[in-house]
Every structure is written in C-alpha cells, then in structure tokens.
C-alpha cells in the first residue's frame, strides 16, 4: 500500500495502540471538563474555562512532543496538552479545587493556570500571550546549554494581536529557535468574532513575515494536527527554526463559566457546532478503520469515568493551604530558612 492510499494514521506510522491512546486523551480532556462544569454549576468550584472543541488540536499537537524532555508554556484552554504532557487528572482537580498541594500554584491561581515543574510545564498567568516570550527564552537558553529541547507554546487567535505575539515570533525567527507556536483559532475572543480580530483573516499568514512556515491545519482532524506538529518538531530539532501552526478549531462552550455565548452567537450557529465536535469525528474514524471496536470504546469510557470520579473525590478531600500561606514565596527564603 502506498502513502497515498494509506489511512492518515498509518501514513504517520501510528499504531492501533497509539491511536487509542490519543483518543483516550481526547476523551479524558472532554470528560474532565464536563465534570468541572458540573462542579461549577453545583457551587463546588468558582470557575471553569473550557477546551471543548479543541481536543483534537491539543492532543494532536502535544503528542508530537517528548514528555519530561520538551518544554511547554501552554495557554489556559490547554487541558489536553497538560494531560498528554503527563499532568494527572488528580493534579488537574487539585487546581480546580484550589487545594494546598496543587502543583501548579498551591491554590493561589485560578483553575487552568497550569504549571508542573517536574514535567517542564511552566507556570502561566492571565494576561494573554506573555508566555510566548518565555518559550523563546527557554529555547534560547536550552540551545546555549546544548540541550536538544523543543518548546511548545500556544495562544488563541485573539491573542495573536498582542505585541508579545509579534515580538516572540520575530525573535524566534531571527535566531532560528526551536519553538513551535500554536494558535488555536476557535473563531471568538470571548464575544468578538474572527473578522473583527484578525486583519487578513489568517493567523498562519503572519508566520511569513517572521521568517518561519505559517501552517494552517484543520483543528478537528487529529492526524492532520499531529502531522503538522511532528514535521515542525523535526524542523526544530534539525536546527531549521520555529514554526507557526494555526489550528482551526471551534469553541463549543461559552468563553468561561462567567460568560453566556447565547448573547452573541445565534442558536443556528450554536446548533451547527454539534456537527463539528472532534470527538464525534475521531470516533467515526477509529471505527471505520478498525482501530476501536465497541467493546474497546466502552472500556476506555469506563476507565476515564473511574479516573475522573477518583480525581474529583480525592482532590475535594484534600485540605486548603493554611490561610497565611498567602504570604509565602514572595522572595526566596534567606539561606538556612528554606522550607
């Protein structure tokens, strides 16, 4: 069978097990997020910001990186990226419940402000796009130390208008740094649609001006995204510099739990989103290509259900940090007084 006639996953050399693993991460991302919404609506946690509609883009992208080796400066919707990078459902729930042993911030930050030192997932903030410059600095420092590291960084299409976006791409382009800039274009920056955000209509096209390939990919197509990132990862490791990849996604949920998108999106538009669900698409693909039978699908669903239940119950049972922990970690403790 030639590459032209092979199914996309086979052309990429992905095994049945790998395809099932990618599906597992996509579904895990979805089910954790759905649980967070339930917890938020039930008054157990104050806030959710959602990756729904971007699961294929996130898992496809992150799957091209090396866990505990490459570095990540993700954006707030990147639940799927975090999971593939190795963050556990329990750790995600610790962040959602703002518990004291939350590895991202010890309960200091809002949920989805990721961070996991052992996994090279850098702490993020709420002002958007600042993390793109951190990715560039990480790549530069890694290269100077002679380390074979590729850096993942990401923002939304709205954020691609921030100055830091352009400064980061330009710097990475000038120095040919091993950074992959992902833009998850979900067509809305809270309520403002793409045409009011991005002149020219294409974020990918901006790559050309910064001396790097700007690639547009169907963000609902898991294997197309993976292929684009694997190529970009290869380029970065070869010393051929950065890439900009714009994944065309959808945003199925409102911007966050504090938003109601029915105020600015028509019911027809919202209804049409159901046809664009990347989970529906990957399930059909796996079935059609004989990669996942009904029993396997049920097994994966059951495994995830148990993991999400366990993570929720376990994390909710963990204590908050002492209130006075609000005063800790402003500066390094003086030598001899650490801890």
């Amino acid at each position: 069978m030639t590459a032209e006639t092979q199914a996309p996953h086979a052309a990429l050399g992905l095994s049945r097990e790998q395809c099932q693993e990618m599906y597992y991460y996509m579904l895990l991302t979805r089910r954790i997020d759905e649980r967070l919404w339930l917890l938020q609506r039930g008054g157990k946690i104050p806030f959710v910001i959602s990756p729904q509609g971007a699961e294929a883009a996130q898992v496809g992208a992150a799957y091209a990186f090396r866990r505990k080796h490459d570095w990540f400066t993700p954006y707030y919707r990147d639940l799927g990226v975090n999971l593939v990078a190795g963050v556990t459902p329990r750790e995600i729930m610790l962040g959602a419940f703002a518990r004291g042993i939350d590895p991202a911030s010890g309960g200091k930050q809002m949920p989805s402000h990721w961070g996991n030192r052992p996994l090279n997932v850098v702490s993020g903030s709420s002002p958007v796009t600042t993390q793109l410059l951190h990715a560039v600095g990480i790549a530069q420092a890694a290269r100077r130390k002679g380390d074979d590291v590729v850096v993942y960084t990401c923002c939304g299409e709205g954020s691609s208008n921030q100055g830091d976006f352009h400064e980061a791409l330009n710097w990475a382009g000038v120095h040919r740094l091993p950074v992959i800039f992902m833009v998850q274009n979900n067509e809305y920056a809270i309520s403002v649609p793409l045409e009011k955000q991005v002149a020219g209509g294409s974020v990918a096209a901006r790559g050309l001006g910064y001396g790097m390939p700007g690639i547009e990919v169907d963000g609902q197509d898991l294997f197309a995204v993976y292929a684009a990132f694997r190529d970009a990862h290869d380029r970065a490791r070869r010393g051929d510099g950065p890439s900009l990849i714009e994944a065309l996604c959808v945003r199925i949920t409102s911007h966050s739990s504090d938003d109601d998108q029915r105020r600015y999106r028509s019911s027809e538009e919202l209804e049409a989103l159901k046809q664009k669900d990347p989970l529906v698409r990957i399930r059909a693909y796996l079935r059609e290509n004989g990669l996942m039978d009904e029993a396997t699908e049920k097994t994966i669903e059951a495994r995830i259900s148990a993991e999400v239940d366990d993570a929720t119950e376990w994390a909710e049972g963990q204590p908050y940090a002492e209130p006075a922990a609000a005063l800790r970690h402003v500066y390094a403790d003086p030598p001899g007084e650490e801890g």
Binding site: W71, K108, G115, S125, H134, N170, W171, Y331, A332
Partner: protein, 327 residues
Amino acid sequence: MAVLNLVDAVRETLRQEMRRDRDVWVVGEDVGRKGGVFGATLGLFDEFGPERVQDSPLTESAIVGVGIGAALYGTKPVCEIQFADFVFPAMNQIISEAAKMRFRSNGAWTVPMVIRAPFGGGVHGGLYHSQSVEQYFTSTAGLKVVVPSTPYDAKGLLTAAVRDPDPVLFFEHKGLYRAVKSEVPDQEYVIPIGKADVKRDGSDITVITYGKTVHFCLEAAAQLEKEGYSALVLDLRTLLPLDKEAIVAAARKTGKVLIVHEAGKTHGVGAEVAALVAEECLFDLDAPVQRLCGPDVPAMPYAGPMEKFFMLSPSICLEAMRKLAQF
C-alpha cells in the same frame, strides 16, 4: 585597586560575573559590538561572543520576556533597557510575570534575573531620556529595586544582584556614569541588597536619599558643617526592600529628617520613608519630616533653563538642610 567611574564599575562587574558563571549573559539593544549606548558592555562582545552578549531586536517586552524564559531554564540573564524611560513596554512582563512567578507557582518556578536601566536627568535628555521610574516598581512585591550612588557600591550591589535568586531592577543614574570616581577593589565582593549605607555621619539632621542626590547632599553637608551643623546622610541604595532598621536608626539619631530624591514627590519613595518614620519614630522627632523632590510634572523638559529648574542641586539641598537644622 583601580579608580573607576560608575559605568566602568558596572562593566567590570558584568565581566567578573560572566567569567565566574557561564550561565550569566547580557541582552539588550546595542549591547553587542557597540558596547551599549553608554559603554556599559564595551568589550564584553569580544571576550564572550554574540551568544552571551546578545543584541536584541528593538523590543523591550521581549528583552524582559525572553530573559524570564531563559531564567526559568536556569540561565542568568542581565537585561539592559537602553533608557529607563523605555521600560514601559516591558511593564507587563516585569509586573505580571517576573514579580509574580515565584509566588504564583508556590515556589516551583523562579526568575533570577537582573534588569539594568540608566535613569535620571540633567543630561539634556528631554522627557524621554531623563525620567526616574523607580516608584513604578517599588510598590510591587516580588521585585527588588537597587540604585547605586558610587562605583564601589555599584560593583558590590551588581554582584549581589546577579547572584540573587529573584528579579532585581538595577537603576544607574546617567548623571553619575562618568561624574563620580572611586577606588574599586579588583577582587569580588558583595554588598547585600536591602542594606542602606551611612555615607556621612552627623548629629543635627538626617538626610535620607539615593542616586545622584546622594552627592548633592554630601556636598551640601560639607558646606553645612562650616555653618556649624552636622548632617547624617543615609544612602538607601536599595529601595525595595527598604532597610527599615537603618532608616529608623538614622531618624532617631538626629530627630530631624529630610528625604531627597530626583523623582516627583507625590507617591514617591519619600512618601514611604516618611510614613515609616512617622510610624516608628514620631516621639523622637524634633521637626516635621521634610521632603525635597522633583516637581510633580509628567517629565523633565528639554530646554536648558527648564531642565536646570527641574533638577535639584547642592545649593537647593543645602537650603533645605539648613532650614531643617535651624528649625
């Protein structure tokens, strides 16, 4: 021991730290072959090469943001902002990112970096090459803010800043770069961040200051001595964290406090120092706390006479010090 001016001391300290630690590198606009617009990195490019003495694109937010990333990875960036007036595009990276990284990650991620910037007026720099910007940072916990007034202090404090585990803003007064010289030991030494220095001891009044006005006040104190009044001059050296112990001790010693700085008065560093003295030393005071500062206008005008009007001077300081001594 060599006699160095302040910009020489900065450069020799960078050289010393870069020789000592391979992870230390400098980045900024024109810091490479040109050696910086003030010569603070002159010769470093030839010794350490373009990877460690890196000319940046003209993008201040990136100079700091890339520095943060490099610090997260374990290197020690010394970022140069060409003029302190141009630090504002980098404010988000400094305030939202560098200052909060350790806190927000509960100590998991840290940003040991130095951001150097020449500041201050009296050099025909107009609005945008003359500002004192320290007060925009001194209310931000998570940062350290250092202002040396002598070449000797510059070396010891910059050595401490490069080795510090947290982000340090290091402001160098342009008017001191070549105007003051002092003996600077060849060997390494550290002046701890957070420690003020009594530049002149005295018993009648206490002047608390930093930066270029330290020299104005010392000159004025010498004159005041001839008039029979003895002035203690305390150089803060670090503005965040303030050396509260030294401030309180200096205030108590004379009971009369004058705070002097080139930056505007309203919400300036002097306001915090005055509040501290009021909290801790009210019953030791023999006069109201006084402040002598730059005018509360947006920035320093360009034309010579207006610039001169804006700037403090030894004679203006002497007048304020004499008035307080005679109170």
